[in-house]
Symmetry: C2
Subunit: 355 residues, 2 copies
């Protein structure tokens, strides 16, 4: 079963990335110091787009850089290239082959902007188009649903952003560059610990084998996790899973909830998790929802009717590399509990080339 | 019935905006020429966030400016202010009262960036916080679900972006500034024409009164329309409506479709609409989906099992101001067909103040 194997390979992939890719990523980060950067532009699709959402919060939190998610259709359909001469431009794609993502990077490079590809395929068109390329070294991913390449993308982004030299605008939010570097070293062990949630994930999934719709809440750094968890539930278990930030959810979609309505949430300890926990308490008290919570904090987990534990000790800005793991396991076991095939979701292919 | 009245007021609101607000918007646009702008940052929530998505494509298509959608939680939860000294910063909010949106504008103004509020409440905290403010002049909106303030927000954005002086980087995509200005004049009549879809919308809604889940497809300029249509279906008719760009849909969520699965699409004539039409043809041929299409092009409408007509003649970049109208009407009549109250969706309030 390659999907389950690939989920369980994640600690090894992360350890391998830190051992073998970190020096190259640090060199790429150091080189950005010589370039004028007012904004970061990221092109990505699907799961990789959720890695881009994580990057959006990380560049903002550590370096106060605004991040624009690219609108590839302006390039690919209309031939309009965004002005990117003071931008750092990043393309993220497991296969490195989606033409719309490649077109944004090629345009940026022609304009002289620093360009970075993050891909699991170092000879791909995306890697070739970019000035610098980060190889995820995750090994072949055979299951259609991306798992180990997603956490490897997040780790690559965290390594890159943490290694970027502090500028006047940098915040110290995650400590000094040395402190950020050593925080990364805790990731492989945290991934091993997160995988021990599998028994609980299987049990909670079996109890919810009829799950066909839900919302998935996250906020700030872990908004990306909510998006990615929802996508796994859609593509693997055919659940209409709708991801929201806790704030956007209250601007309309709240009208969907009723007693027993399933609300999944990623709420690690920290300010964003506390915000989600407050919302969940209200949803349980006022609407008696079926809350299922992923958290490292036992008090937040207690807000859920069911919960999945995360290891303690990771800072909020690194938690998304690990917090998706119980979500992946829940989606895998829900797929099995529904009698569906986790290896090959219907209709879709591993490499999707959109324009 | 204020919701239906407000939907039908949209031509009058648009005409009033062009008559009375355009000179002020053009002055705001002219003033941006003196400021260094490498990026546009927009803060918004809910329906207003869909106006921001429209702005993202419009700034890119006309002026090649990358647009970052703000991450308000970094300011409101973590106290981290993004560096915005070469950004044009826009806050969009019907009520002008969401503290997280106000906090982004206040931070940008402290940093000396040009700031613009777009709101229906000229004395609101948002309007006061910004250097310039655009009043939508839409009159009080009483229904909880936003309709006339949404199209007024789009029209305000279109007026602003079209009136911005061309820079070296500008594309000529939508013609000269004079041509862009006169294109806007066609909007009120186009809104009147779009409202004639009400009979078809009521009939199609009655046929689909059991609709409880669907995807809503749009691309490029009309990706915003897909997002907004899905939100109306959620908050009014309690439908799990999931919006996608045609590209992102093929990266995973395609696994949800099966024979008879409802696929709603906004596909006006033009390159993005042609792209959606191609996808819809494939979804009908391979998966026998129940496609419902909004388009001004009879050949594209024929791809749907059902369709709603848009008036012909609007350029692709202005179509979103009008293309949501048949979607609003469909959501209204579906709500009525389900026996739900369109005036007051359950649980939510007109003004949502999130941090």
């Amino acid at each position: 079963l390659s999907l389950r194997d690939e989920i369980h390979e994640q600690p090894e992939v992360a350890g391998g990335f830190l051992d073998r890719a970190r020096p190259a990523v640090e060199a790429i980060a150091a080189a950005t110091a010589d370039r004028p950067i007012d904004v970061v532009v990221i092109a990505a699709r699907g799961t990789s787009d959720h890695a881009a959402v994580y990057a959006q919060y990380l560049f903002g939190a550590l370096h106060r850089l605004p991040v624009a998610l690219a609108t590839p259709s302006l390039v690919s359909l209309f031939g309009i290239e965004p002005r990117l001469d003071r931008a750092l431009v990043i393309g993220i794609s497991q296969s490195g082959r989606s033409p719309d993502v490649v077109s944004v990077i090629a345009s940026a490079r022609r304009q002289g902007a620093p360009t970075i590809a993050i891909t699991n395929a170092p000879d791909s068109p995306l890697a070739t188009a970019a000035e610098s390329s980060i190889d995820l070294l995750a090994g072949p991913e055979r299951a259609t649903a991306a798992t180990k390449t997603y956490t490897a993308q997040l780790l690559a982004i965290a390594t890159l952003v943490a290694a970027m030299p502090d500028r006047d605008a940098s915040t110290g939010f995650a400590g000094s560059r040395e402190e950020r570097r050593s925080a990364l070293d805790a990731i492989p062990a945290a991934l091993i610990a997160a995988l021990t949630a599998e028994g609980d994930a299987a049990r909670l999934a079996a109890e919810r084998r009829d799950l066909d719709r839900c919302v998935v809440l996250g906020r700030s750094f872990d908004y990306a996790t909510a998006r990615e968890w929802a996508l796994k539930l859609k593509e693997l278990a055919q659940v209409h899973a709708d991801p929201y930030s806790a704030a956007d959810f209250q601007h309309g979609p709240l009208a969907l909830v009723e007693p027993g309505y399933p609300v999944l949430a990623v709420a690690p300890s920290g300010r964003a998790g506390a915000d989600i926990a407050t919302l969940l308490e209200r949803l349980r008290a006022e609407h008696d929802v079926d809350a299922l919570v992923i958290s490292d904090d036992a008090a937040i987990r207690a807000v859920g009717r069911g919960s999945l534990a995360l290891p303690a000790g990771l800072p909020e800005w690194l938690m998304p590399v690990v917090s998706i793991v119980p979500g992946q396991l829940f989606a895998l076991h829900l797929t099995a509990a529904k009698g569906l095939d986790p290896e090959q979701p219907r209709w879709i292919t591993k490499v999707t080339e959109t324009r």
